[in-house]
Subunit: 634 residues, 2 copies
């Protein structure tokens, strides 16, 4: 590691938050190109325009990589698979782009296959640590999952064989009049769909109508494959998730400890005690360097926790604890006087003012406002075109504003708007936004005599969101919500994971199924409307359910369609539409999507929520935290 | 506790397995009466017949209860809620039966409401310990679940309000042409159905077709209510399940210890050591009394584990361990010689015989039979009316029989058919059953020239089941299957739980919806067939999907319908059919069923499978088990 000032400056520049934001911005632009590229949401963008933007993004990634190679040693740079990955992605993208532009200008057919690789940039940049960890944990869980999956598929194929033998020769017909359970591969697919419950009970009805005894076959099938196997999948995913997460955390803690020991050996001074130690002055210097914003009271507190025997120096053990100590959030509850007390002491401390403040602090104040919210909910439910209701809205807005002002009058505004007061922020933002939107809306209505539906939509959403506040008054609800809010940041990792997977599937889906299905607006009179503009869809459930807008014609539609497939219900009808317009093998795409997203990713999500709640239920304050609390009490 | 010989005999009679089987038999008969009672699966049973059978059952329960009251003290009898419960159930059933018979003979309308109480007998008999524990754990989890549920319902109602405001005034139409999202209660129901994913994506399509932006509303809704809240439900159920199960187990262990300490104080002898102790002779007497079938080698082993220092007597601590020791299964691997060795030593040990046995023990033997199974699978898939295929079946049967005979020749039949050899039993039973069924089938075909489909069905099922054996050859699969087999016994408790809940819902459903929907066989030409014999169903999805057989007209149909509701898919269409023929408030029945069975019971099932797999993955041999193993090694 080069420790020259220049190298350190380069390193600091690399880790500067501005650079990190910039690289995320370039990734977003690169991913967002899908909106303009064929098949485009916003069409008629020339190829050269998107190509140049992509080229700029690729150059930015290259520059970032070169910067990184300057910061760390060559040997470590080339040993790191994520750097190799980025280099491969950039080169492949370049090759693909050149061939595509070449083919297109020559008037040939071309496929932009390198678009699949784009989301992998998100995984391989330095900041994608959490995302890489998630992928690693999936990769590690794969062997276990695949054993269960093969056993599951064996079970499905055995049941299919049984179904073929039991029902194939009976000449039964499905609802659509096609032969029932006569083709083995078709049965396997139908029974796979039954595992996802999407065609229950329809798939059973012909056999059940023939004889009640055949229901037993389906009951046993559902019990084994839907309930037991799907739970086993969750168990395997959850177990691996826990195991590998623990392993990762252990390695992280080890690495941290090793680095802190190295730091200690650099900073240690002899002559302070029997063992090497670090003096308070040097410790203070270090803390101020690492966390410039720390208050001196907070720093003193940390020191008094570290230096328990008040020696004026600390040993290796206490020093190594430093990062953990810095991580513990200490909320400084400053009981500062209200600004009005210092400005207008006579007025603020008068009997009337004290009375108002006592009212606001009273429990009944909260109850009254909860009641107001409930009344407001009823008013929102009523017809807003009634002038009485419309005017009542102003009264409610005024009441909510009054509440915020009264609270600001009673409590210190700096405490009211401190970082941890989620609900105060929520209230204020919603009420002020509603106020602005309502004023804007009535200004529009009175001046131009027409109401914009978009603004009204926003006003309605804000009004309803205001009601959410009532949740905070109920202690039990608050704890549940707090747990969910705590999960928030980690959910963002999960969101990126989903984005990567969806993006890859969307790209493949768009290449396979673009422009096969067309959407006609509801008021269109086009005769093709009934079968989504594709005669192959005539008579299919896809056309009958009017699913034409669920297509792969642009990236946004694709994402919404993939979301519908994730929710599972009717996925076989959606898949059926696309197999009708292409080939029966298109089912493979949809089945793979189901396996990857529903069986693996969604189970990780569930495992993740389960774990968060279990941790919340068995919360155990760490040793350090309690020792800090003890010091504070002193 | 009365310890006179007469009382002990009475107590032993009470706990005799025959009595327990008898009481279960009476409960099954009592529950099974639903098949004959109105609305009946097997109709035309006079009321007096079912009433007399029920009376006999009730008398049996009363007799059992009186027997129990003689066994334990009066005070304890009346303090136990389960006895009170049974008395209440019996008296209510009697009252209901008398009034019902009275009303019916007078030609009036009557409802057998006490049938709801019948499954509660299953919960309240002495043997229903596990089931009571399950219900207790549900009851204990209820407060926690209800907080989450109220928060969830709050979220649903807020989203519904938003939906009403966003979509109500836009004049959108659903697929059926009805107004879209204009009635608040209808929206709440539709969005509740969306949580179960049963109407996704149909409920979204009108809004999505109008504008892509509205998809955001549904995406946020699904994310919060379907994914997050449903996972939170699982977390809460799982957490409570674990917590209360632990508590129950702790109390059980405590009670066991207390009883063992009492037993020790009765049996203790002084003068053996410094402390009171129990001599080996007395210990041996006790073990032989408690577990008459124990082998002397096993008993000696247990004694040597208890009496580690070889004193000839054991103290309190070692004595208290006895039940745990007795619970550990010790598989006695008797390496007895093959019976043929003793009968025909010359033949069995000949070169040819040795060669055959070496082949059977060779790995390749297993592989060859796996290959045969695979070939057999292909043959089963082919058309069995081809004479070549039909004859091949005899070859396969012969091969399987040969395998079993060869194995019996090589290994000791007593070891081959020992209790723990699940797969050997499975193989033998399936192959012999297939042999009998096939012979029976061909005898029928050749003598009367016709093939019975029922027998053919059985033959096919047995043939396919034979293929399942291949699973045992793969180590990874075996461990998964073993875990599932281990869960088996505990699943029976779960099965009883489901039975109780289903039975209650079936009884209510039959009273509410009987004979509203009629099923016509597929070949019927009745003009009412298209709408299930009820004009109110004309044009509903229920009739369109041909769900007529999903009705509450008898107890078996009701159970199958409830199972379909448990699987969730299309439950809103099923509910829609029954609301169409009765009243919109019938939805309440279906929503309550969903909450009770899907949100609570199924989550318990999933929690249960998760826990079983986690225990399997982190299996830790207990201290006692290892000490037994150590002794065995010695």
């Amino acid at each position: 590691f080069d420790t020259s000032p220049q190298a350190v400056r380069l390193y600091q520049l690399y880790n500067h938050w501005g650079m990190q934001v910039l690289i995320y911005l370039f990734i977003i632009v690169d991913l967002g190109l899908a909106v303009f590229e064929e098949p485009a949401l916003i069409p008629d963008m020339p190829i050269w325009a998107t190509s140049i933007v992509e080229l700029i993004c690729l150059m930015a990634f290259t520059a970032r990589l070169i910067h990184y190679s300057k910061v760390i040693s060559h040997e470590r740079f080339w040993r790191d698979p994520k750097n190799i990955c980025i280099i491969v992605i950039i080169s492949l993208s370049l090759i693909d782009m050149i061939t595509y532009v070449g083919l297109k200008t020559a008037g040939h057919f071309g496929v932009r296959w390198s678009r699949l690789l784009r989301p992998l940039l998100l995984v391989n940049i330095t900041e994608g640590r959490q995302l890489r960890r998630a992928f690693r944990s999936i990769r590690n869980a794969l062997p276990q999952i695949s054993y269960v999956f093969f056993l599951f598929m064996f079970s499905v194929s055995m049941f299919s064989l049984m179904a073929l033998k039991l029902f194939g020769k009976r000449g039964l017909k499905t609802m659509e009049g096609t032969p029932y359970f006569t083709d083995y591969l078709e049965i396997v697919f139908q029974l796979y769909v039954l595992v996802t419950t999407a065609n229950s009970p329809d798939v059973m009805m012909p056999a059940y109508n023939y004889s009640s005894f055949f229901a037993v076959f389906f009951i046993v099938y559902i019990l084994i494959n839907t309930y037991i196997f799907m739970s086993v999948f969750l168990a395997v995913v959850y177990n691996n998730y826990k195991k590998y997460l623990k392993e990762e955390v252990r390695q992280l803690v080890k690495a941290k400890r090793r680095k802190m020991v190295r730091a200690f050996s650099l900073l240690q001074q002899s002559g302070l005690g029997e063992e090497p130690a670090v003096s308070q002055a040097r410790w203070k210097q270090l803390v101020c360097l690492v966390q410039p914003g720390i208050s001196s009271a907070h720093r003193e507190l940390l020191w008094s926790v570290s230096d328990e025997n008040k020696n004026g120096y600390i040993g290796k053990l206490a020093f190594v604890q430093l990062p953990d100590l810095l991580n513990i959030e200490v909320i400084t509850m400053k009981t500062r006087p209200h600004p009005l007390t210092t400005r207008f002491p006579g007025f603020y401390e008068s009997t009337a003012s004290r009375f108002v403040r006592r009212i606001v602090q009273h429990k009944a104040f909260v109850y009254i406002y909860d009641l107001i919210i409930l009344v407001n909910a009823v008013f929102i439910g009523l017809d807003e075109e009634n002038p009485f209701i419309a005017n009542a809205e102003w009264v409610f807005l005024a009441l909510y504003l009054l509440e915020i002002l009264l609270k600001l009058y009673t409590w210190d505004p700096r405490a009211f708007f401190s970082r941890h007061q989620f609900w105060n922020w929520f209230d204020t933002v919603i009420v002020i936004a509603a106020l602005i939107a309502t004023i804007f809306n009535s200004a529009l209505t009175s001046s131009e005599g027409y109401t914009s539906r978009q603004i009204l939509d926003i006003v309605f959403i804000l009004r309803v969101l205001r009601l959410v506040r009532v949740v905070d008054s109920i202690q039990r609800f608050r704890t549940i919500i707090n747990t969910l809010i705590k999960i928030g940041p980690t959910i963002s990792t999960f969101g990126q994971l989903i984005l990567v997977i969806y993006y890859i599937f969307a790209m493949v889906g768009m290449e396979l199924f673009k422009d096969k299905v067309h959407f006609f607006p509801p008021n269109s009179t086009d005769p093709h409307k009934d079968y989504c503009g594709n005669p192959l869809l005539k008579g299919t459930a896809f056309a009958k359910f009017n699913y034409c807008k669920n297509n792969f014609n642009d990236v946004v539609s694709s994402f919404i369609l993939l979301l519908e497939l994730t929710v599972v219900n009717q996925w076989h009808e959606l898949a059926g539409g696309f197999t009708a317009v292409t080939h029966v093998s298109a089912r493979i795409f949809f089945v793979i999507f189901h396996i990857v997203v529903v069986i693996i990713i969604i189970n990780i999500f569930v495992a993740f929520i389960l774990e968060a709640f279990f941790v919340e239920y068995t919360v155990d304050k760490s040793h350090l935290q309690t020792s800090i609390e003890k010091k504070i009490e002193e």
